[in-house]
Structures are given as C-alpha cells and as structure tokens.
C-alpha cells in the first residue's frame, strides 16, 4: 500500500477513479457501452478516442519538461502537420497523386523538422525554452496558412478520404484505431525510457545540467532529441485531429492544446522544474482532463461556465497532490506515511 501511495501514478489515478465514481453515481448511462455495427460506442469509448491526440502530445511534453524545458509550439505543429497531410491527400500541393503514404510521411517529417528547429534554438543557441518555442508557436500557424494558401482544406471528395478518416476516427476490432496508435507509441516510448539509458540521462540533466555535463552526459544532444520527439508527437496528433474532421483548419486545429498537454504533465505529478518524470502518469493526466470534459458535457453544465467548472476541479486535483495541502487540511492523520518520511528526511541531513 505504502509503495502504491509513493508512486507518482497514485494521485492522478486517484483523481481519475474519483471522476469515474462520480459519473457512476450522477451521470446516467455513463458506463453503458453499445455495440453498433460491430463498433463500441459510449462515453468511455469516446473518452479513449478523443484523448488520443492529447495523450501523444503529453508524452512528448513530459520528456521536454523532464529536461527542465517546455514546448509551447505543439499546437502550431499540429496545424502544420494537418495542413500538409490534408493538402497532399486533396492534391493541392506537390505532385503526390493523392498518396496517403506521402501525406503521412511528409506530415511526420514536418513535425521532426519543427522539433529540430526548437531543439537547436534551445540546446545550441541557448534561448530559454519558452521563448524559443514561442517563435514557432506564433509563426507556425502562419506557415500552415501558407501551405493551405489561407483556406480551410476539406478532403470530403478526395479519393483516399476514407483511408485517411480511418486513422483518427476508424475502428479496429470494435475499438477506435486511434487508441491503438497511442498504445503502440506509448510502448515504444516506455521502452526507450526504461530499457535504454535515456530515462536516467533525462532525469540526471533535469536535476542538474552542469553536473550531468561533467559526468559525461551529452546534455545538448539529449535536449535536442526530446524536442524532436515532441515535434513528432505533435505531427502525429495533427494527423489524428485533421483526420477526425476530414480537414485542416489552420486557425483552430490544436488551438491551446499545448496548455492541456502541459496541464496533463502537471496533473501526472511531474515537476515542471524537470528531473524525475513518469510518462504513464502524464497519460493518466490526459485521461483525467478528457474524462472531466466529457463529464461536464454529460452533466449538461451550461456552456458558459464549463471552463470554470473544469478549472475548479483541476485546482482541487493539483492541491491534493501537495503534501503540505493535505497536511494542512486533513491534519497529520490523513497524510500518507510517505510524506512524513519525506519531510523527515529533508531534515535528516545531520552534520
């Protein structure tokens, strides 16, 4: 039990479970799943399907934040990637014969390039991450507009539209295809983090840049890699989002999604100062956000105050993760043994 509470995963998971319990009690048919034409439908399935882009972004964002950085350009990269993919599918740019493969490949490459750009600015030019990625955040939507020549691209009549639509909105074995994409990427990333030294190096350089450099870690290279991964994730998310609506809207695709991604990382209990991180916790964080959104809609909360309700719940979640807060509100009884140990250890530096 103690070990469970100690885990970074504990509080985000608790938040998710509480939300689900709340829904079980107060939202009608929240957990009901219907099978229509061999596909599963229902609120839970919706959450899983809709969370996919955000989950991808949050994975990349976790890595960037682990280095002590931040990537606020992901929303714009979403727009760029969607614009490229849809324009190619629709045959508006280049000479790719409406090829699906070309659309996906070039969209993903655009994400990688955006990541390289961000990474170089941060790691080599040494611009502060917020400022460095702010450049692409503002310029990115303009680039996307250039690609679509300022129009909203709809691909309803393109030859490969159904195949493209399948990526974001299709079903495989009755489960949304996007869920498979997220799971595959998650497995890859977790493998990379846990079975190579990547995780250790990130936590090391997020904890202390200078020490890590002098211990032989290629700090710049690793930082660059995290931004490239984040860019790639954003491009993939961009494909999912544009596929889901069969079109690319440069002004609105992925608007403010970078904030949700950062929030998910925070809900996942990861410090925005860098250092220790958990990818899985961030993904659970995205589920919390998505579940909350669905809940608020399902409850019929008036649209004007939806963001207020969300904000209150999220503040509560973040407060609950704080040992000091729990201690202050519930007294010493409620405080997990872990936090007592921790605060004691802080003082245990006896010399």
């Amino acid at each position: 039990m103690n070990k469970l509470v100690r885990s970074r995963l504990f509080w985000p998971l608790m938040a998710l479970i509480m939300l689900l319990i709340f829904n079980a009690l107060f939202t009608k048919n929240f957990f009901s799943i219907q099978i229509i034409e061999g596909h599963l439908y229902g609120n839970v399935i919706d959450i899983l399907k809709n969370v996919a882009p955000l989950a991808l972004l949050a994975m990349g964002m976790t890595l960037v934040i682990a280095t002590g950085g931040i990537d606020i350009s992901v929303g714009s990269v979403v727009a760029i990637s969607g614009a490229i993919a849809c324009s190619i599918i629709d045959g508006r740019i280049g000479n790719f014969n409406n090829s699906l493969i070309a659309a996906l490949t070039l969209a993903l490459i655009s994400g990688l390039l955006c990541g390289v750009w961000n990474g170089l600015l941060v790691a080599k030019v040494k611009i502060q991450p917020v400022v460095a990625t702010l450049i692409l955040m503002t310029a990115g939507r303009g680039i996307a507009q250039l690609i679509t020549k300022g129009k909203i691209v709809t691909i309803n009549s393109a030859p490969k539209v159904n195949e493209y639509y399948f990526i974001g909105a299709g079903y495989l074995f009755g489960i949304p295809f996007a869920v498979f994409i997220v799971l595959i990427v998650l497995v890859f990333i977790l493998f990379f983090v846990k079975k190579t030294a990547f995780g250790l190096f990130l936590e090391s350089l997020g904890t202390n840049n200078r020490s890590s450099h002098l211990a032989g870690i290629r700090v710049d290279k690793l930082k660059l890699i995290t931004y490239v991964i984040s860019g790639f994730m954003a491009a993939l998310a961009g494909i999912l989002i544009s596929s889901n609506i069969k079109g690319a809207d440069c002004n609105n695709a992925g608007l403010f999604i970078e904030l949700d991604a950062i929030l998910a990382v925070a809900i996942g209990g990861n410090s925005l100062n860098g250092g220790r991180f958990s990818i899985t916790s961030s993904v659970v964080g995205t589920l919390v956000i998505q579940c909350l959104t669905t809940t608020v809609y399902a409850l019929g909360v008036p649209p004007q105050i939806i963001s207020l309700v969300k904000a209150i719940v999220i503040i509560a979640i973040c407060l609950f993760q704080s040992n000091q807060f729990r201690e202050a509100v519930f007294g010493r009884l409620m405080v997990s043994k872990k936090s007592k140990d921790l605060s004691a250890k802080k003082g245990a530096q006896i010399s």
Binding site: N208, S211, A215, A344
Partner: protein, 502 residues
C-alpha cells in the same frame, strides 16, 4: 569576559527516522564570547543549530534565552527573538543591490513609499561598523564572496541580534578575508554579543574562540576553554580515536624510481584562452601530482582543460603517446580520465537522484545510450562502492542530497571509480568535510596511485597537499610557474615560488 549565560540549551533531543541526531545535548553560550561548535560530519552540529533557529522542532529539551524559556517556531521567529544566523552558502540575492539585500522584506517606509535614502544610509553605517566601505547601491553580485559574506553578517546584525550563529562562514574565503571576518567577530564579541562559530578549520577555531563545545554522534563530548585544549587532544575528542593515525605521513614510498614511471597524459604547450596560459605538464602513472597555488591561480582551470571541460586553444594533449582532441567531458571519460569538480553542489551531485543513480551515471555515459546497465547490475555496483568507501547511508536508494557533505563526496568518488579511470583528477575533494573522512580520502588517493592510477590532486590546504603528493606543479595568476619534486617539496619552497612568480 563575562560569565553570564546568554543562551542555554538543556537535554536537547532530536530524532529522525532511523537516526538519533541529538541525544541529551547541553550547550551554553555566554554573552561576549565566541564559542566554537565542533564535530565531524553527522555529529549533530547542524541539527543543533537548526533546532535553535526553529528550522527543526526539537523532540524534548529546554532552550533559555536571557533566562526565559523560548521555543523557536521558525527561522523568522528566532530572528525576532534575537538569534541571527549566517549560513555557509551566502543566501542573499546576487542580482539585488547591497542595500536592498540588507533590508529585503522589512524596508523602511515613508509616506507609504520605500524610503531608499534611509535604506542606503543605514546600510552604509551598518557596513562601516564592520569596517567595510563600498558602494551600497551596487549589485551584490559585483562584490567578492568575502564582501557578500560580510553583507550577510551585516543583515544578521541589523535585526538587533544578541546571538549570532556563523555556520561555516569561512569555507569560501581566503586568508586575508578570514582575518577581516575574525576582526569583525572579535569586535562584536567585545560589544557583548554571543557568537556561535561552526567550522571545519581547526586553526580558525584557535584563532578566535574563547570556548569550544564538541559533539560526536549526536552526543555531547564536552565544553572546553580554547586555551586549555591542545589541538591534538581536540582532534582526538572529535573523532574519538588516536591522533597518531592521522599525523603519519601517508605519502607513498618516495624511492620508487621516478624516472621509470610511465607517462599517461602529456600537455604540450597547451593553453585555454581566458582560463590558463600556455603550460606543459606530464602526468605519470602511479603518482600523485599536486597542483598547488592560490584560489584562482589556474590550478582548477588546468584540470578542466585536461578533462575536456574547457577548450584547448593552442598546443596539444597527448594521451599514451597519441594526440587527442577532447571536445567534451565524455571524450575525456572515454580516454580514461575522471574529474571530481571543485564545487560539489553545483557541478557534481545530482541532488534529486538516488545514490545508485549518482554512482552509475558516469559509467553509463561512458557506455552510451543503448548499452544500458540493468537494474540489478546497477545495484551491485552501488552496493560495492558503498561498502568499499564506507558511505554512511540507510540504503542505495537514498537521495544524495540527504547525505552529509563527506558522504556526498564519497559518492562522487565512487561515480568515477566505477568508470575504472587511468587518471583521477580531484579538485578540492576534502573541502567542507570532517577530519575523519578527510584522512580516509587522503589514504584512498595514495592507495589508488600505489595501484597504478595517475592521480592529480588539488587542495587549498597545504598540509594535505604536502602529505599526499610526490610531485607538485605550482601555479599563480593563470600560469604554471614550475615543478617541485621529492625533497624539494615544502611549504616554504611553494610560497617562494608563488611569491617570486609575480
């Protein structure tokens, strides 16, 4: 000297999970005395100070200030009671002006606005009392660490302190700066203040203290008058063992045929612009080479050049007969070089990571991203070095920041030993470390050399250098002046060289 007790602490007990940090400790401070609080790392000095200043709550015991029982709730509270503390690391804001630093949080106001004129003149007067004349509107960061330290003391004094605690105030000061600080301390003592002085430098203890209290393993060893306690006895009481083991010279046998020692690294007319002027240096296997010089003389810079942390601007580095270009520390690590940097806190430890991770990180960096050391192997490596270097910790998963300075240093040493280096560069490896651990590290250094490793040793403490090094390169003003070998090495010779070099 008056004998009126200003502050008394009785039967102080404080425990942390698994550790009894203080048991039944008494401490008495009289007005108008400088009282040194001594003990090895982990003896409980810091804990006692923390309990007194309200950083930690005490489990049991009594504290009386001026005959009234007090219980400090927070550092702020203790300050209000008249107990001011100056910590080891200057905890001021380098980007604010000197005056702002002194009045931050309690700015005098006039008509609801901050009264800058009052701030500046009061600061000036305050510093004048300490014999310091500086422009108080300048940014604090522009001044030397010594001045910063004085400013910290000035701030502590302005809050009408009766008790002043100086927690290792001298670790970043040079001799002249220390003298200045001691002058101020004596002046304050004569004005009737009680000063608690925590330090690792025993000479300094005798330079200023009236009384000495020694702690060991959280227990009180005793309170002594400084003039009646010889240094050797003092050390014996601190570590609880014979001084004999420490005083012996541990230098490896001199009559190893020096000429036959194999050269591992040769710096050939190397220089690094802004860091170190052109120098040539041979580093031989099985030898402890000392880089002597004052702070900022270029000794650390030389080490950094050899580790690839600073770029070589001219000349070359030759390792085992082959010319190499060290673009970054990783290149140097791959060539078998290891480097324990001078500033442990900012350049060496990974505070939020475990001891295990801190130990394996350099080895993993040497292996690269994909040749991952499995968890089990990591644990074996960590346990091996915890045992080998006698690192005192509840376990390998303990965060390094929770260890005492000496044990942190051992972890960093373990990090480099794990990479199995041919050349080990140690920059101030014993700074801020208690005598027992110091002696252990010195012995290890000599042992590594005896086993065939090339060791480069840098220290501000001449005693230590004289005991460990069989050859010394002397630096001054970013320039190598020359070398001393064997019997030539003595404090006088080194001083002469540095003095003559200018």
């Amino acid at each position: 000297m008056t004998t009126k007790p200003l502050l008394t602490m009785r039967n102080i007990c404080k425990g942390f999970p698994g550790v009894k940090a203080l048991s039944d400790v008494d401490f008495t401070l009289r007005a108008g005395e400088i009282h040194s609080l001594l003990g090895e790392n982990g003896a409980g000095k810091s804990t006692l100070i923390k309990v007194l200043t309200g950083v930690e709550k005490l489990d049991s015991g009594q504290i009386e200030l001026n005959g009234q029982e007090i219980r400090t709730k927070s550092p702020k509270h203790s300050q209000e009671l008249g107990i001011s503390t100056v910590y080891q690391e200057v905890n001021l804001c380098a980007n604010l002006s000197v005056a702002e630093n002194i009045f931050i949080g309690r700015e005098p106001k006039k008509n609801g606005m901050i009264d800058w004129k009052a701030i500046n003149t009061r600061t000036k007067n305050l510093l004048k009392k300490l014999n310091i004349n500086i422009d108080v509107t300048q940014t604090l960061g522009n001044y030397s660490v010594a001045i910063q330290q004085m400013v910290a003391i000035a701030r502590a004094l302005d809050v009408e302190a009766k008790v002043l605690i100086l927690d290792e105030p001298t670790s970043s000061l040079d001799t002249a700066e220390c003298e200045k600080l001691f002058g101020v301390m004596k002046q304050l003592r004569n004005e009737g203040m009680g000063i608690i002085f925590v330090t690792h430098f025993l000479d300094q203890v005798y330079a200023v203290s009236d009384r000495i209290t020694i702690l060991r393993n959280g227990e009180l060893v005793g309170e002594f008058l400084a003039e009646k306690l010889p240094k050797i006895e003092l050390i014996g009481k601190m570590i609880g063992k014979d001084y004999d083991t420490l005083s012996k010279t541990i230098k490896s046998s001199q009559n190893d045929k020096e000429a036959e020692k194999e050269i591992f690294l040769r710096a050939d007319k190397a220089s690094s612009i802004g860091n170190i002027k052109e120098f040539s240096l041979d580093i031989k296997k099985s030898e402890v080479l000392g880089l002597a010089g004052l702070l900022g003389s270029g000794r650390s810079e030389t080490a950094r050049v050899m580790f690839g942390a600073d770029k070589v601007s001219s000349g070359e580095i030759v390792i085992k007969g082959e010319k190499v270009v060290l673009r970054n520390p990783l290149d140097a690590i791959k060539e078998g070089i290891a480097y324990c940097p001078e500033d442990r806190k900012t350049d060496a430890i990974l505070g939020n990571l475990s001891i295990r991770e801190n130990i394996i990180v350099a080895l993993q960096a040497k292996y690269g991203l994909f040749k991952f050391i499995g968890r089990k192997e990591q644990e074996e490596i960590a346990d091996r070095y915890i045992k080998l270097l006698d690192i005192k910790t509840p376990g390998r998963e303990q965060l390094i920041k929770n260890l005492s300075g000496g044990n942190q240093q051992k972890v960093i040493l373990a990090r480099w030993l794990a990479t199995n280096p041919d050349l080990l560069i140690l920059d101030e490896p014993t700074r801020g470390i208690d005598i027992g651990t110091k002696a252990e590290i010195q012995k290890l250094v000599v042992k590594f050399a005896d086993e065939g490793m090339a060791v480069v040793f840098i220290s501000s403490e001449m005693d230590e250098m004289l005991r460990c090094c069989s050859r010394m390169a002397v630096f001054s003003e970013k320039e190598k002046l020359g070398e001393l070998e064997g019997d030539e090495i003595s404090e006088q010779e080194i001083m002469k060289m540095i003095a003559g070099g200018k």
